[in-house]
Symmetry: C2
């Protein structure tokens, strides 16, 4: 049974304002909820339908939820489908707590060599999630989202990030706050652009903040003006540029290889 | 003025079957139509609205269409918006001809060193377009789409490919037809997977077919069994895998650097 209040919350969490007000987000589907449970984030409660237990994997997930003492509201398939954001909700939706992360706390965990990915107004939730997943996979230490960047906890971002949003620290801040912090923490600022130099030419890459820009407009002039260096992927083909997720994948890989 | 027949065609081209029957596709927006006109593909006709001429760039595009002797059906803003697939159609939609490309013709243009990207059931049109754009940018020579891969001429694929679909040869075929062709043309088959070896370990990469798989299931067993080698991006972070566009970007870049 799901109370009217909880049902309203679940629906409201599709909107950014409600997520910010409630400090909570939705995670949908077996894989995403597994990743959420494996992370340090707090899970408030879940809703699940009988179909979830049809698979061994679903059964294990239910058992894990119950062992952890997380409330499991059991609802019908039809009800779950009506609440779901995806076509195949796979019998489970969880409400997780948005972790509060800021620059001060980030400094404490970033000793030694570290690469940070900075997103300047990345608008597409699929791109955002893919960037976080890539950063996590190749070994970046954090993601910083500047104004204009899509909300991290959009359900499309959560899906595209495939669990990485629950692991990698994501901090929202502004450039005027970030820049002095980067200087103080001894990070070099590399701004990605089609005309930038190859990573092999930029010298010291022990502590780097790699900035990637908006899908259409690229990085803002203000950030470019403050960057230590422009970096890019040398292109040998015909397309003028890579999309932001492909460019970031190659640059991060080169920085961390 | 747009005849009822042409209007119906434009709407029908949103569906794969109609695209295949008509041998035509839609390209929408200033940038995409510019790229289409700059390519070798045939443009059947365009529809445009008065708003297009409000910008210098739009004006130049109209002039170019008319110089080339391409029919330009002028319609109202409202009519264009009702026909458009995107929220901001930017005053122009073109109907282009789908080029007919097959393995025999591909062989003729692929002498010497070459990297081909092979897509095994890549389902998402955004991923498909991004993969074609990346392949084109880093210097791959062709893309081969195996069964289960989304239609190349889906309007989302066309947008995500940002012009590269009009330049790079895309061939649709099956694995049983492709494999003997690859052997005969002396291509090594590298299958991408999370557990594969780094490109630095695979030896001769002068003529390579890099196969990437479905977003969820990866590469089919049949293809894996026929591949000369499994290749992957060594991951130093926490996520178990990269998404297909990020993995392909890094692997193609490594193969072609």
């Amino acid at each position: 049974m799901l109370s009217i209040r909880d049902r309203k919350l679940l629906t409201a969490l599709e909107r950014r304002k409600a997520r910010e007000r409630e400090g909570a987000f939705r995670a949908e589907g077996v894989r995403v909820v597994e990743d959420l449970l494996a992370s340090d984030l707090t899970v408030r409660w879940v809703v699940s339908s009988p179909g979830l237990k049809a698979s061994k994997r679903g059964e294990r997930l239910v058992a894990q939820v119950e062992e952890r003492g997380i409330r499991n509201h059991q609802i019908s398939e039809t009800e779950l489908e009506s609440l779901a954001d995806t076509v195949t909700p796979q019998g489970i939706i969880a409400v997780g707590e948005i972790p509060q992360r800021d620059l001060a706390r980030l400094a404490a965990i970033l000793a030694g060599d570290a690469v940070i990915l900075v997103l300047d107004a990345v608008q597409d939730p699929g791109n955002f999630g893919t960037l976080v997943r890539t950063a996590d996979a190749v070994g970046a230490s954090a993601v910083i989202a500047l104004p204009g960047t899509v909300d991290s906890w959009n359900s499309k971002s959560v899906r595209a990030a495939a669990g990485s949003l629950f692991r990698l620290p994501i901090v929202r801040t502004t450039w005027p706050e970030l820049l002095p912090w980067l200087r103080q923490e001894d990070f070099r600022v590399l701004a990605s652009s089609a005309e930038g130099d190859p990573i092999s030419q930029v010298g010291d890459i022990r502590r780097v903040a790699l900035v990637v820009g908006n899908e259409g407009a690229g990085i803002s002039d203000e950030i470019f003006a403050n960057a230590d260096r422009g970096v890019g992927v040398p292109l040998r083909g015909h397309a003028e540029s890579l999309n932001v997720t492909a460019a970031a994948a190659i640059l991060l890989y080169e920085l961390l290889r």
